[in-house]
């Protein structure tokens, strides 16, 4: 079976999810080719164990993100029974565009994949789970942190291909710098605040704890809708992001059904809320009935202590 992996990059280097996708591909068969859009991370991709071949696709069209141009440049080089990508925003767009160009079906954000192509994915942002069987050839995007990474130690041959593709999207200006913080969809630990935080300025307390833990900061829909300072990119839940970190800390979040859908699959959940009846306690592994004003300083102090040991 021939599998092509479209690699994911971040700031010009290979993103760790790429090794996870190769890991998933390796569990299904051999002959794995990794295609690197823009050539980003191609030398790192060649060192992933199990990779037979790396195609570094380079050209001016990769200077800015233009889904159609990238898809047209990559499609002729992407082949096989199975095409895989990450289910990041760009990963999804690109694989959907490539699948349409090839006339093959695409299934997105898969969290489990076995041969014959039986795929597991969450629907309704986690309110239900779906199993689908997919006829090959097909394209599938995989959710980060759902598959074991392939190891290192490979030495695949890298072929560089220069492409020329007309672009139709031109970036005029950046409107704001991307947040320095980790995105909630990528983090192992997330600390989220709800409307119970009282004021967006109080999210600084969450930021401090996030810095201690290397965590991302999230928010409930109520917080995002109420305060302009809390951007939608932080929203966890249906109409926001579905997350599955190892630890999810919910502070001042009552636990509306849309929020629970997006975070209930987290491995461990710690909820801090002053209302003992808050629905969030129904999904929490650890619940602390307390105001955030009382709990967060203590949490910060004890985490600092623990982590310095």
């Amino acid at each position: 079976m021939v599998t092509t992996v479209i690699s994911e990059s971040s700031n010009g280097s290979l993103h760790p999810v790429s090794a996870q996708i190769v890991g998933a591909a390796a569990s299904l068969g051999e002959a794995i080719t990794v295609v690197c859009p823009g050539g980003f991370g191609s030398s790192e991709a060649a060192q992933i164990s199990g990779v037979a071949k790396v195609i570094s696709v380079e050209g001016e069209c990769f200077e800015n993100y233009d889904c159609l141009a990238w898809s047209k440049a990559l499609s002729p080089l992407v082949d096989g029974d199975l095409i895989l990508s990450s289910s990041s925003a760009i990963g999804r767009e690109l694989i959907a565009s490539i699948a349409a160009a090839k006339g093959i079906p695409v299934v997105q954000d898969v969290t489990g994949l076995t041969s014959g192509f039986l795929a597991t994915r969450s629907i309704f942002s986690g309110k239900a789970i779906e199993e689908v069987s997919i006829s090959a050839p097909c394209a599938i995007s995989l959710r980060a942190n759902s598959f074991e990474s392939a190891g290192s130690g490979g030495s695949a041959e890298i072929t560089t291909i220069d492409v020329s593709q007309e672009v139709s999207v031109a970036v005029k200006q950046a409107l704001a710098k991307a947040s320095e913080r980790l995105d909630v969809s990528e983090a192992d630990i997330i600390i989220s605040g709800g409307r119970g935080m009282g004021d967006p300025a109080n999210f600084s307390h969450l930021n401090e704890i996030a810095d201690l833990l290397g965590a991302a900061v999230g928010a409930s829909r109520a917080a995002v809708d109420t305060w302009d300072d809390i951007p939608h990119s932080m929203q966890v839940g249906q109409t926001g992001k579905t997350v599955t970190p190892n630890l999810y800390i919910a502070v001042g979040i009552s636990g509306a059904i849309q929020h629970l859908a997006g975070m209930r699959s987290s491995k461990f959940i710690l909820a801090i809320n002053k209302d003992p009846e808050a629905p969030i306690f129904g999904v929490a592994d650890y619940g602390i009935v307390s105001t955030w004003e009382d709990a967060l300083p203590s949490l910060k102090e004890h985490l600092t202590e623990l982590l310095s040991n």
């Binding site: 999804r92 349409a100 299934v107 409107l175 929490a284 592994d285 650890y286 619940g287």
Partner: protein, 251 residues
């Protein structure tokens, strides 16, 4: 000229999703709504129309109940309504073939839809249509504007929000932005009820919707969580922090 806006009807995000005989039980859904991100597409389509860019053609693909979302779109200003009546469970190729045929028929050069639907959470339709129609693509847009024929958009790019200029014809998918969604007024609602819906089948558009390459084997509920441990008062914080390390092993 004109803007095609693609709307999907989904269970309202406040709905509980229950499973019966291995399938999502649609009969238990109490409220069906336009998928939230599609509402931002509709809002931006109507803004373009107000700026003088042609009519808004609202298109939906789904069972008979889905016509309601077209009527809702008409109530806030959609000019033409197209409903392609299908059974559920079509694969991405089928859905995109149907929608691209409908867009071609509408002769619209701008297509707008949500970045993903609130039921399947996939996000394949927008980029897939761009690819099959050969239209440019801008994803996760929050605003689209037009000045002297040039179309620009604000999108959430790989390194943060950015303003892009895009060549038309183009497909835009929408993220939730700062646009306020308009609500229909009484007159709009009354007019919308009388508005004609063009009802088509996939066959009318030359699409074979019979054989899907993606078969749903089962739906299930997420595993129930075991009841957790609850503590009262911030004095329990040290104990919980300790448990996060010793029991949960997550910090």
């Amino acid at each position: 000229m004109g803007v095609a806006v693609l709307l999907k009807q989904v269970p309202d995000t406040t709905s509980k999703i229950s499973i019966s005989s291995g399938r999502v039980d649609e009969s238990s859904v109490t409220k069906w709504s336009i998928s939230p991100y599609d509402e931002y597409a509709l809002e931006n389509a109507i803004k373009l129309k107000e700026g003088g860019y042609g009519d808004v053609v609202a298109i939906t693909c789904g069972p008979p109940r889905a016509s309601k979302c077209l009527t809702e779109a008409a109530a806030v200003g959609a000019d033409r309504l197209i409903h392609i009546v299908t059974d559920s469970s079509l694969d991405s190729i089928q859905i995109q073939s149907i929608l691209s045929a409908a867009v071609k028929e509408s002769e619209c050069e701008i297509v707008m839809c949500g970045k993903q639907a609130a039921d399947t959470n996939s996000g394949s339709t927008g980029p897939g249509l761009s690819s099959s129609l050969g239209y440019s693509f801008v994803g996760a847009a929050t605003r689209v504007s037009m000045e002297g024929g040039a179309v620009s958009a604000t999108r959430l790019g790989p390194s943060g929000p950015e303003e892009v200029e895009v060549r038309v014809p183009c497909v835009f998918t929408f993220d939730k932005g700062d646009s306020e969604l308009r609500r229909p007024n009484v007159r709009g609602i009354m007019m919308a009820k009388k508005k004609q819906i063009d009802t088509l089948t996939p066959e009318d558009l030359g699409v074979d919707a019979s054989i899907s390459k993606v078969i749903i084997e089962s739906h299930s509920s997420p595993p129930e969580k075991q009841p957790g441990q609850k503590f009262v008062g911030s004095e329990s914080v040290p104990e919980v922090v300790n448990k996060l390390r010793e029991e949960a092993n997550v910090i």
